[in-house]
Symmetry: C2
Subunit: 405 residues, 2 copies
């Protein structure tokens, strides 16, 4: 087997997307020891950088060493005791994932649902909070399965008034959509690098409010082998050791209590993702995602395609587009990959075979990627038997850019 030599790809799906080369270069740096001052310095810097990314003052802002799904599970297993009620507003696949994980950590799961392609009025969720009286509300911000973003402003007040924590999965939206951890009153937010943050999957940034940390403080149990007579030992410890956020905070905190061996290369990458975003400015990055996402949406419509879902609540960084009648969606994706080395996304569950999902995010939220994808898609659609206006996609995108200029 030869050395790693992946073919060139332009990743325009719902993520992972092409990584920023700066991130990959950062990840090629040599290792230092786990408690080397250089390493602990990088850890502390990474905490500060992600406070900027999450728009929070939370001291408890760290990385979980796993994919974004590990970050979700860390939040739920650490904040929810078996038998406690969790309310999940479901408007797509990743809401279902929250119910799945909450069930597995032993929660009593309550659900409110919206058809795929819609979002909730905040007041609908608030009503459910008043009715269910959950210990925690778990909600996805941007659900890539439907390409929609759930408004969150105003939800925390009703949660807090009823003694509930508010957890948000911001994996797909953070860095490319407006997101304000503190201003929105969120108690826990987890994310990943492989969407708007322009890095590889494998690392889950997470931030926790003082209210969430207070829950962890009550559940903290120092590991056998590291504890002494004065160490806290919970009667019923958190059901996971690896994803125990109290332990992870103790490891990242000034006490540097040994837990896992931090994934140094992944941390180098996460740190660079945040540096890139903050150099651009979060506001500018969101505007960039909005600009190129809008141009892509205009271009797709210019090709005569129909967009999927409530466009007033579309994520900036991914658009769902209906597969035209008579066109084989997988044949289009295959030909795009084979002839143009461009990947766009398929879809899950009730949308499978009905829509493609096309992303413009992170390193690939650019004018050239939008125009290249539209030009290629035009050729492929025609080759697969669809009637598409010549140049309609690129022209409409250019018009959108012109209107924005």
């Amino acid at each position: 087997m030869t050395q790693i030599h992946p073919p060139h790809r332009l990743l325009m799906g719902p993520g992972p997307i092409t990584a920023d080369p700066r991130v990959l270069r950062a990840m090629s740096a040599q290792l230092v020891g786990q408690f080397d001052p250089a390493m602990t310095g990088y850890m502390t810097e990474t905490m500060e950088l992600y406070r900027g990314v999450f728009d929070t003052a939370n001291a408890a802002t760290v990385l979980v060493d796993g994919t974004s799904r590990a970050g979700i599970e860390a939040a739920l297993v650490s904040l929810v005791e078996p038998g406690q009620r969790v309310l999940v507003p479901v408007f797509g696949r990743f809401g279902l994932l929250l119910t799945e994980i909450a069930t597995r950590v032993g929660a009593e799961v309550h659900v409110v649902e919206r058809p795929w392609g819609e979002v909730f009025d905040v007041e609908e969720i608030a009503d459910a909070v008043r009715r269910v009286r959950p210990h925690l509300v778990a909600v996805v911000h941007g659900d890539t399965s439907t390409t929609l973003a759930q408004p969150l402003e105003g939800l925390a007040d009703v949660c807090h008034d009823h003694g509930a924590l508010l957890y948000c999965d911001a994996t797909a939206s953070l860095g490319g959509n407006p997101f304000r951890t503190d201003a929105w009153g969120l108690d826990a937010v987890s994310a990943g690098l492989q969407k708007c943050l322009a890095g590889p999957s494998g690392t889950a940034p997470i931030t926790l409010s003082d209210r969430a940390v207070a829950v962890l403080d009550r559940r903290r149990s120092i590991e056998v082998g590291l504890r002494d007579a004065t160490s806290p030992v919970a009667a019923e410890p958190i059901r996971s050791n690896y994803l125990d956020l109290a332990m992870i905070l103790d490891y990242w905190g000034p006490g540097r209590l040994n837990h896992h061996t931090e994934a140094t290369t992944a941390l180098y990458g996460a740190r660079e993702c945040a540096r890139i975003l903050l150099e651009e400015g979060v506001g500018a990055a969101v505007e960039r995602h909005r600009l190129h996402g809008s141009a892509m949406a205009a271009g797709l419509q210019g090709l005569g395609l129909r967009l999927f879902g409530d466009q007033a609540h579309r994520m900036t960084n991914v658009v769902g587009v209906e597969i035209p009648a008579g066109v084989d969606g997988e044949a289009v994706r295959g030909r795009l990959l084979t002839d143009f080395a461009i990947e766009i996304g398929t879809s899950f569950g009730p949308l499978h075979g009905r829509i493609w999902r096309i992303g413009t995010m992170g390193y690939n939220a650019r004018r050239d990627t939008v125009l290249t994808t539209l030009a290629a898609l035009e050729h492929v659609l025609r080759a697969e038997g669809a009637a598409v206006p010549a140049g309609g996609g690129v022209d409409a995108a250019l018009a959108a850019y012109g209107a924005a200029a």
Copy 2:
């Protein structure tokens, strides 16, 4: 905050150690899509490579996306139902970690213990198996906290005769010590990259016997959002979604059922670690670890230092050495790092302040690293007030190399 630019370090502790530059270069390759033929091809190749590393024919040989601790927890949470008995032979800190994790996943944990610095006769563990009748025996192979390796040959027979699975944590030993998954009858083995495999932490290779897979098959529960009317749904699902090995196998298997988004960069690194090891040959790599580990041990004795623990069962890749009376162990470590950029290890629990741990593993199992470390240590020990024979460390190591030649 500036770009990543870590200071040069020679990592001669118990791991993580300096990564092989080939691994870091592999990790700087650009991403491809999660289900791109190039990606699934790399996944399949990685499975085959790790069969070679583990010395197994197990089809179920994959990566868990997390540090070695994630691999341990994946094995225990997936193979053990709450209330089932787990037997852990403890001879150091990582045996304690197995008890910690097994407790958290709900097992009824039984322990047999050996003082730190000793290992068990296999027959002692076998007696405990007959007495406890566990569902699973969880044992560390090489426990870096004491630097000793537990013999495992012959243990599987008694486990299987009594209906128990045998799980082994080979994080610290794999690739540098003799290790035979199939010949020893092991049902589950997990590891990490940051020891003899010369990579960064963050990825846990794992292999499962047919017997272990049969347990997973009984516990399999297809995720809500992906399941259909014919999908298996367990009455009591595995308590973790992220570390559910049945799901992880379904993702790596021919069905490619979506689970996490594979950490592509980490996979590139893991694949290269295995390629490097198999190019050298596992047997040759073990011999290299034995040679340089022995030379380091001889050199430390040549400096008048005493080795720790049962030397007949010392791991090839790490040696414990007593801190001489009157010498400040942390001052020695600090000066080695400051003046020579060399890191050696401190120790945990009952050995804290009593021994240093010095590794010769993976990319750093080399003659130059051994001699450089010994020369530096001689200077530092003298500076910290110890009486050490001039050149005694390097000369003894050279003599050991000469005798081996």
